[in-house]
Amino acid sequence: MGKVSITINGSEVKNVYPAVTIGVSAAASGDEVIFFVLPSGLPAFVKGQMEVLNEKGVNLPDLPEMMEGLKMLNCRILICELGFEVHGIKEEDLMEGCEVVGATTFVAVAQGSDLTFSF
C-alpha cells in the first residue's frame, strides 16, 4: 500500500476536517498515514478541542469518531514542537497519541510518500 503525508497548518474546521477525512480514508484503505501539525494547527490538538470543532462542523462526519479511527489504524500524529511556546500550550495538554517532534524528524518520516496534502 501507499504512504500519505498530511500537514495541518490551521486549527479551524476548514483545516482539520479535510485532513482527518482524507487521512482516515487513506488509512482505511491500507495506507500508512502521517500527520504533521504545524504551530498554527496545534490548538486543535489540545484535549477536548476536537469535540468543540465537531460542534462547529455542522452536517459533517463525526470528528471524534474519525480520530478514534486514526488511532485504530495506527496513524501517526506528529506535532511540531515550535507551537507550544507560540500558543502557551503544554505538552501534557495534548490529546493522547501525539508525538512531539521537530521538522527534521517529520521530513525523515515522510520520505517516500506517495501522496502529500496540506491544509
Partner: protein
C-alpha cells in the same frame, strides 16, 4: 461461510468505510458482509476500497430511496 450485516445508515463519508474496516476482525475468509448506507458517495467509495484492498464487491445497488445495499465477499 456466513452473511453478516452492517448498518451504516446516517453515517457520512468516510465513516461507512471506517465501520467496514472496524468490522473486519469479525469476518472470516469467504464470509459475506452486507452493508446498508445512505451516504451519496458510498457506491464509489466502497468500490474504490474493494479495488484497493483486494476484496470482492458482489454488488452495490440503490433501492430507489437513496439507501444503498452492498455485499462484499472476504
Amino acid at each position: 461461510m456466513a452473511v453478516k450485516e452492517l448498518d451504516c445508515i446516517g453515517l457520512k463519508c468516510p465513516q461507512p468505510i471506517l465501520k467496514v474496516v472496524a468490522f473486519i476482525p469479525q469476518m472470516e475468509a469467504g464470509d459475506i458482509l452486507e452493508i446498508k448506507a445512505d451516504c451519496p458517495s458510498f457506491p464509489t467509495d466502497i468500490k474504490a476500497w474493494c479495488d484497493r484492498t483486494g476484496k470482492t464487491l458482489l454488488f452495490c445497488m440503490d433501492d430507489g430511496t437513496g439507501t444503498h445495499s452492498a455485499q462484499i465477499q472476504f
